[in-house]
Amino acid sequence: MLIETHDLTKVYHLGETEVHALAGVSVDIAAGEFVAVMGPSGSGKSTFMNVIGCLDVPTSGAYRFNGEDVAGLSTDELAGIRNRSIGFVFQQFNLLPRTSAVDNVELPLLYSGVPAHERRERALQKLEQVGLYSRSGHHPAQLSGGQQQRVAIARALVNEPKLILADEPTGALDSATSLEVMALLQELNRGGITIVVVTHEQDIANFASRLLAFRDGRVIADTRNAPADAAAALAARRTAGADAIAVAALAARPPADPAWSGPAVRG
């Protein structure tokens, strides 16, 4: 198991009131899975992602990442795990402004002590992988939203992580570019990288092979899903034109199996 959580809780104090953002979450995610985490806002899905991304620490419960108990680690050690093993993709891209695409992609390598020439080489290679090699010198402001998100994905990939965490990666994108980004994530998943996407859009969640539904800090459903093929949907959309999107998306999507209920839900 890449991710093993047991009875995670997270309590925030907002003045007098206690907010239970996580109220006992036990989920295992195996290496190579493509998981969509769904739920309304305030359901605890973002907190869950922050905890498994080692950005935040749980109030109680156990979390093992790649077999290592994360609870006992110092902030510097957590930074090391984020640096080497986890790539982040955010809704607002979070690229450094007025900084070239390739410099943005290099950023994680800066903190793992990779020499300058190797940093550049690896960053350019990842930009090529996301199809933006020719834009490596452009600043974020000179790139479209989809291109910016692909730069962000290249940055997430540059340190060859085991896990990519994407928080609403298509939230700021139109539907066509959303498909492009999801196709890219699916391709990376086929290459062996575990992907966890937080989203509140069912369309986006359908590209995942497993759906985790959150409500009130708990996992209320854990289902297997036969994923739609984003690349195929994109191709269909391009040939059929804008009117056929819905049809294409439906055609590319095998029916979900409601009988299958996730054994991974233990909480």
């Binding site: 922050n50 090391g80 982040f88 007025r98 950023l107 994680p108 903190y111």
Partner: protein, 410 residues
């Protein structure tokens, strides 16, 4: 994260906000510039005092005749002729630290050339006097020992005397009458200027001591070997107080004074007066530097202010850097390097401006200014320290942000 990479990150962050970085640096630029200029002005003033000391002779000791007691009233120094030419020769010969010792006989009288005349001080001495006072001859040449031995009627004119008698014409080779005795002018002394108490040092004529004794000043002095003063130059690097003590011992021995008798001569040391002057000019220099450094501190506070704004503004950037693996100390270093870079670049520009301002002050105000290497080194060090000191708090604030809060910051 290695240092070079940190430096590049810091520089690019400063480049992104060019105007703001420039304005922030302005405080340090003005501060360092002011310190450099003020120290240069102060050092210039000090150097001028030191030059004055040099022109008077900082390592001069004057030996004067002692006093005598007349009906219970002790008379002033020099009232009793107790020191002799031979004392001078003995001092030069026997005291290790003495470079030269020149005996002087003084009087005053009229010097006449053609139909103009001038009352001045007539000083009979030996060629060593010029060496003791570090006095050069502007034209012609000084009289030599053989002219002293033969009591030659030769004279060296001071600038004031030469101007009064000859105007701008060259007096060398002319004959003047000193107290009616004709003397050939062999040389013109260089200008020495006013002494520190306002005396015109150029208003005198120098003649061989033998000539003065036998032919010019005359009177009772003809037979004796007495002189009024001995001008002693102490060797460079010699211990002044020790030399003075040796001289005193030798003089007492020569004058056959027993242990319970007072000295029958005086030793005057000019350096004490001048040391006080030098100290006061040093105080001035420190004062100027202290005032100037206030603006450096103000500049430092400007840096701190901007760094705090910058940390708040770039909280999301900090969050992102932490998310991709920056540790607290990476963030700390980044902001610290940024602050120090601001301060150091400001400091370097300040040095250039301060140096230019010093030259301008020297040129337009006519003051002497000296930009010292020490003040430059101090200014660079100080501005670096200001960067660290005032940059540390904002940098630490940044490094202690929780990554998740920083990422969510709007």
């Amino acid at each position: 994260m290695n240092f070079l990479a940190t430096l590049r990150v810091a520089l690019s962050a400063l480049r992104v906000n060019k105007l703001r970085s420039a304005l922030t640096m302005l405080g340090i630029i003005i501060g360092v510039g002011a310190v450099i200029t003020m120290v240069a002005v102060g050092a210039g003033a000090q150097a001028r005092v030191e030059d004055q000391i040099k022109s008077l002779g900082s390592n001069l000791i004057i030996v004067l005749s002692g006093n005598f007691t007349l009906g219970g009233a002790r008379q002033g120094s020099g009232t009793q002729p107790t020191i002799t030419e031979d004392d001078a020769y003995a001092l030069q010969r026997e005291v290790q630290g003495v470079q030269v010792a020149a005996p002087s006989l003084r009087g005053s009288g009229q010097v006449v050339f053609g139909n103009s005349n001038w009352a001045t001080q007539i000083q009979g001495t030996t060629p060593e006097f010029l060496e003791a006072r570090q006095w050069e001859v502007a034209s012609g040449k000084a009289f030599d020992q053989s002219q002293v031995d033969s009591a030659a009627k030769v004279v060296l004119l001071g600038q004031t005397v030469a101007k009064s008698l000859f105007g701008e014409a060259d007096p060398v080779g002319e004959t003047v009458r000193i107290r009616r005795v004709p003397h050939q002018v062999v040389g013109l002394l260089e200008r020495k200027g006013q002494s520190m108490i306002g005396q015109d040092q150029d208003d005198l004529v120098l003649i061989p001591i033998t000539t003065a004794r036998k032919r010019v000043l005359g009177g009772q002095q003809v037979k004796s070997r007495n002189v009024q003063s001995i001008t002693v130059r102490v060797r460079d690097g010699a211990d002044m107080p020790a030399t003075e003590q040796e001289m005193r011992d030798l003089m007492r021995q020569r004058h056959k004074l027993s242990a319970n008798q007072e000295d029958d001569f005086f030793l005057r040391n000019l350096s004490e007066v001048l040391a006080a002057q030098e100290a006061s000019s040093k105080v001035l220099a420190y004062l100027l530097a202290a005032i100037a450094s206030v603006s450096l501190v103000v500049g430092g506070i400007g840096i701190m202010n901007i760094m705090l704004v910058s940390v708040t503004e770039r909280t999301r950037e900090i969050g992102l850097r932490m998310a991709v693996g920056a540790r607290g100390r990476d963030i700390l270093t980044q902001f610290l390097v940024e602050a120090v870079t601001l301060a150091l670049i400001g400091g370097l520009i300040g040095i250039v401006i301060g140096g230019a301002a010093s030259i301008a002050v020297g040129y337009f105000a006519g003051w002497r200014t000296e930009v010292s290497m020490a003040s430059v080194v101090l200014a660079v060090g100080f501005s670096g320290a200001i960067g660290v000191f005032f940059g540390f708090y904002p940098a630490r604030t940044a490094s202690r942000l929780a990554p998740i809060d920083a990422l969510r910051h709007e």
